[in-house]
Symmetry: C2
């Protein structure tokens, strides 16, 4: 009964754009939209413009980025350049959010663009950009505006994910995976998403009812106790702005996630998938936490990018998010490795160092920063996820009274 | 002795980028640069990034625009959209200028992109954008930052200029004209520009020494007396910021120009070339001024775009610039019609309705807005040039004592 095989690429791309607009962002009539994308994603940018205007957006402003322009900086700029960011643009974006604008981003940058560049420059530039964009990102991390990220199969990303294929075949394979994950190939993509959101919400409800004090992850190279923040709240599926607007921040999304306690994480944890970090690929991460802080860290590949990340600021060496994803999630079941967090984080349990999400705290949007910190909600200019789940990882929940409840076995829901 | 024939297109484009950076913008080491361009100009964007970083720019932020995204708005947005502008981006740009950023723009948009769209929507959108960008544009019109415009031969522009040619031939012909005008094909482009700037400066000196009270233009359909502002100053060639940075605001430039008196312009004037105005082509403009204000206006083609322009605000029906360009200027001598003001305004004497330039007033940067208005320097959210010179137009200068001095005959310097 599926109509999958009948849809042309153009029809699938148009449906993908419809999902980005009608499931992901859901613009409010009259709302301005800031659309950031790599320049290669222009065909999707145009379709999102079309559907956003049809949905009542007042003005869509595309901000297109080009990897070659970024590389020109690393090749030709003076060293002092790498502590500079376009704060004027970040502040403008924050002002737009304050006035009610929404944000949609297309993910697809070359995961290895900056491999071979000086890692300390890469992390200095990322730190400067993170600091400059903090006021704008606060609107995003607190869900004060509707925002969403979707994907576009650029050639460089496709070749990174599927190096054994020709560029054309790699792009085609990546698009099939993207359309499956965004449900663009479903008979009724929007209805499929409403159903999927309901499943995630039921999982969120169970975890919130349990109100675990901490989670314990055990597997090869991993024995980690993750205390949860006081007043933490689980989230998953669609989000809601304070004004009541619904949106799906990530397309795809398979995770349920909450706020760890920034001072109550202890033990070893090993990454289970590579991480694309600021244009570098980092693999084989091993870190040890003590009272919430990373005190030992190494990686088999890209270690300096990791070490630079966790010293960006104090919060960058503490956790801001912990997320549960079943090993059988459709993205994981595809068996593919995407080198793109939007996909890989939806294939495995993961954690993020850096900024926590206000929506993952009870009454989080109304709490002061000091209150959030007191409850264990981490604060930072960065937020970087990496994957710690696999078929060999078990998760237990520890109740406030000390009872241990099996939550996942082989990263499948118990 | 010329090496013109030996240079490949890639070499010429790189020299064109060098002229844009080293003649046009001349970045100050450590300066941020905002680079706006149509997306098709990406090859030149990348080269300008390279040369700007090599010249010491700290960070170049490209802002790329796409005609199809603009058209999506006209095709699908609600009517209320056309009174909205991205003020957050304009304000961010103004903040960047305040902090010392420079601006470079690549001209090459499709001159007829919005032909066929509702002219009142086109001018409402332009008016909203003009109003929003006023704080940023004030840094430009007062030369408080170094800024420059250069050109890129997009396919749509080339086909508009040379409709009788194939797209490939039209693009090649337009590039030849652009490289000739930017002197990218000269043996030493930067030296050629320094020489050209000196010629323009000598012409400026003569006109400033004369200190005419008004200019009179006579030709077919034209008999116009243009009073000059009290304390007007002629400009041409390179400009200087208050901090002493030199730049060439337009590449190419052949004009010397000054500030008309906004309340002392009388008579009829006819345009001598088509004007590309907000994506519409306007031809055969005839307007009549009375005490500085346009009181009658018509056009053989695109009339509503013209009428909408001059009612944008009070200043849009008064002159803000008058410019003299010899009919034998290299761009005019090429015999080409470009449908792009950066080129066509350098082929003929022209005038502009709207905002005046502070640099065309003695001590203009330090005068208050009220002082500028009292002296006749027009204020508006728009600045649109159109061409009024041709081989059949004569220009006289009228001295403060009433003496009439022939300035141009057949638009050649006397």
């Amino acid at each position: 009964m599926s109509n999958k095989r009948k849809l042309s690429f153009a029809a699938l791309l148009d449906r993908h754009a419809q999902v980005a607009v009608h499931v992901g962002l859901r613009p409010i009539p009259g709302q301005q939209i800031i659309l950031s994308a790599p320049i290669e994603a222009l065909p999707l940018v145009r379709l999102i413009c079309k559907h956003a205007y049809m949905a009542g957006a007042s003005l869509v402003t595309p901000l297109l980025t080009d990897g070659e322009c970024t590389l020109a900086r690393y090749r030709h700029a003076s060293d002092a350049s790498f502590d500079i960011a376009s704060a004027w643009l970040s502040d403008g974006t924050a002002a737009a959010f304050k006035e009610g604008a929404a944000r949609i981003a297309i993910s697809g940058d070359n995961p290895g663009l900056l491999a071979g560049q000086d890692p300390s420059r890469v992390s200095r530039a990322a730190a400067a950009a993170g600091k400059a964009s903090k006021p704008a990102m606060e609107y995003v991390t607190t869900s004060r505006v509707n925002w969403s990220i979707c994907a576009y199969a650029t050639r460089s990303w496709a070749k990174t994910a599927f190096p054994e294929l020709s560029e054309k075949a790699a792009v085609a394979k990546l698009w099939r995976a993207i359309f499956a994950a965004s449900r663009a190939d479903a008979p009724d993509p929007v209805a499929a998403w409403m159903e999927h959101n309901a499943v995630l919400k039921s999982r969120v409800k169970i975890l919130n009812d349990r109100n675990f004090a901490s989670l314990r992850f055990r597997g090869p190279g991993t024995d980690l106790l993750v205390g949860l923040a006081d007043g933490h709240k689980w989230a998953g599926g669609s989000s809601t702005t304070p004004g009541g607007a619904q949106f799906n921040a990530n397309v795809p999304t398979e995770e349920v996630f909450t706020t760890p306690h920034s001072r109550r994480v202890d033990g070893w944890v090993s990454s289970t998938k590579p991480l694309s970090l600021h244009g570098n690929i980092v693999e084989g991460i091993r870190v040890r936490f003590e009272s919430g802080k990373i005190v030992e860290a190494s990686a088999a590949k890209g270690e300096s990018a990791l070490l630079n990340l966790i010293k960006t600021d104090e919060g960058a060496s503490h956790l801001g998010e912990i997320a549960l994803v079943p090993h059988s999630s459709p993205i994981s079941a595809s068996g593919l490795l995407f080198f793109n967090t939007l996909f890989d984080e939806n294939a495995a349990c993961h954690m993020a160092v850096g900024q926590s999400y206000a929506k993952c705290m009870h009454d989080g949007v109304n709490l002061s920063k000091d209150d959030l910190i007191a409850r264990g909600a981490n604060q930072s200019n960065v937020h970087v996820d990496w994957m710690i789940g696999s078929g060999a990882v078990d998760v237990d929940g520890i109740c406030p009274d000390g009872t241990v409840v099996p939550v996942m076995r082989g990263c499948e829901w118990v």
